[in-house]
């Protein structure tokens, strides 16, 4: 199975397809692709343009009128959002939540994935299937018992609650992805290392981890996006009563519910929340797509 990443995709080779009426058909293909691209980009473009328009014109004219004179563009929305509505703090909270909640499950999953790949023990396959099966447990099922547990431990409202929860929720996918990758590494490398006297700890740190860097990168990006974009887990374990610890998503959800029409703030706030994931996505999409595909298709 090829694991072609988006930017690496080889150019299509219509020249190799000697098909009659190719010209007209190809035109239709171009038309369809371009139409789809336009439909897909318009919503995001609309938000981006709106976030730079002043409040006064936002409610009286559509974002597309911004491209015709008279031009009204401003940075004020961003300034207001950062200064007034606590979004700046929420942005920092999101980082505090997302970075540990990305790193911890990767480490935990790496050890488990190595054991599933390169150690023999009774019940290994059954246990792995159970772990993968947990992928489909709905988050909502776990909320009430975990919330009570956290309350008993005095963790509700704290970042630690969200770190722990995201580690638990992210693990089935993390173990699945890493095991697929580690399990497909060449067996001979591990065997010759064992012959040279390497124990499992050495094999893990010297062979398995360095060779699995693409999988770690993909997993890191995916888990980061998942945690950064999460609303439900944060809303429940941190709670509206501890709003000083809530992440971007919760702050924006509050703005949506409370302001309704306060669009000039919403658009800028939403774009701020997207900026980091988009940067992560465009910076690392190569790894991202390759790793996901490796896990999902290759099996």
């Amino acid at each position: 199975m090829t694991t072609t990443a988006i930017p690496d995709a080889p150019p299509a080779t219509p020249a190799e397809r000697p098909v009659r009426r190719r010209g007209r058909r190809q035109l239709l293909v171009h038309l369809a692709v371009v139409v789809l691209m336009v439909i897909w980009i318009v919503p995001t473009l609309g938000l981006l343009v709106s976030s730079f328009r002043p409040q006064s014109v936002l409610s009286t004219s559509g974002w597309w009128t911004a491209f015709a004179p008279p031009y009204h563009f401003t940075m004020e929305n961003y300034r207001d959002v950062i200064n007034q509505s606590g979004i700046g703090r929420a942005f920092v909270n999101s980082l505090f939540i997302a970075i540990p909640a990305t790193i911890i499950p990767i480490f935990v999953a790496a050890f488990a994935a190595y054991a599933f790949s390169w150690m023999e023990f009774p019940g290994r396959d059954v246990l792995f299937v159970v772990v993968v099966g947990l992928l489909v447990v709905p988050l909502q099922t776990t909320l009430i018992p975990i919330l009570r547990l956290f309350a008993d431990w005095g963790l509700t409202g704290q970042f630690a609650a969200v770190w722990l929860a995201h580690t638990g929720y992210g693990l089935p996918f993390a173990v699945y992805l890493l095991r697929n990758f580690m399990g497909s590494l060449p067996k001979s490398v591990f065997e010759s290392a064992a012959l040279d006297g390497a124990n499992h700890v050495t094999s893990f740190f010297r062979i398995a981890v360095p060779m699995s860097v693409p999988a770690f990168a993909a997993l890191g990006i995916f888990q980061f996006l998942f945690v950064w974009n999460d609303l439900l887990v944060a809303l429940i374990y941190i709670g509206l009563s501890n709003s000083e610890n809530l992440p971007m998503t919760a702050a924006i959800a509050n703005l949506v519910n409370s302001l309704g029409g306060g669009w000039y703030l919403l658009s800028a706030a939403a774009f701020l929340s997207m900026a980091l994931p988009l940067a992560v996505f465009f910076g690392l999409q190569r790894y991202f797509v390759r790793g996901i595909v490796g896990g999902a298709v290759k099996g």
Binding site: V29, P43, M274
Partner: protein, 327 residues
Amino acid sequence: MDSRFITAIWVVVGVPAALVLYIWGTERLINLLPDKWQPRVRPWLWLGPALAFLGLFLVYPTIRTIIRSLYSRNERNQRFIGLDNYEWFLTNTDARSALINNVLWLLLLTLFTVGLGLLVAVLVDRVRYESWAKSIIFLPLAISMVAAGVIWKFMYDFRPPGAPQTGTLNAAIGTVGINPVTWLQQPSFRLSTFALIAIMVWMWTGFAMVIISAALKGIDPELLEAARVDGANEWQVFRKVTFPLLGPTLAVVSTTMIITSLKTFDIVYTLTNGNYDTEVIANLMVKQMFVIGDFGRASAVAVVLLLAIIPIMAFNIRQFRAQESVR
């Protein structure tokens, strides 16, 4: 520098260090054991942290939720009420509406994301700007559902007829003379539910496309060429050769989309909160828990969601076993 920052640094450095130390330390201890016991003990120590997290955050709460769903609302003196909470779910009109909507979500979201994903994957395979097209289609997946909600508030915005429309969609239909529609406050024909599903289609088509596209590129071009030499036209090649070969991939993508549609919450919570006949099961559960405070009923709703997912879990496990056997 606030204290949270210091805590975060401690966690980012400390937890991985502790885990590495744990593995290193247990290896030392294992070496003290007789040779025969070492390979039997080691895997469980390596799996330990992961199994602890999974047990605590997924297995234990699922069991607790199932038990809690059989008890009454009151937290202080819980009464065993058997299946009453389920009876409430089956007879309540909101719940029925949520069930219908979840079925709509399941069918339409899966159909459209997989269908469009397949279409795009096949089409972009034939153009030179493939990577651009794919990136644009994939981009919404990197956006949080909450931000997507804001984006689509702009798309669906409504102004009374006559006023200049600021919503992209109403402005677009206005140019051909159709009156503006209140897309997100429209219970008739469950129009608002369809409007919400459209948002998720926009978000998840890229996911389906990327995976299907990778599978497409894995198909041996000689197979397709052989079919063409035998006189098959492009459509026949697709239907008789490409499509069957994509089968397992389409199954994986469809499964993911079905699970996503059953778990739908964020987009409904932010845009309509279940009003105008857009309720879904996950949002109903969160309402029972945090607005009404009935943990018994909320648990029952969660169990219903779990039951709906069991057939899919079974299918997945079978699929996975089949894959493992050829590994």
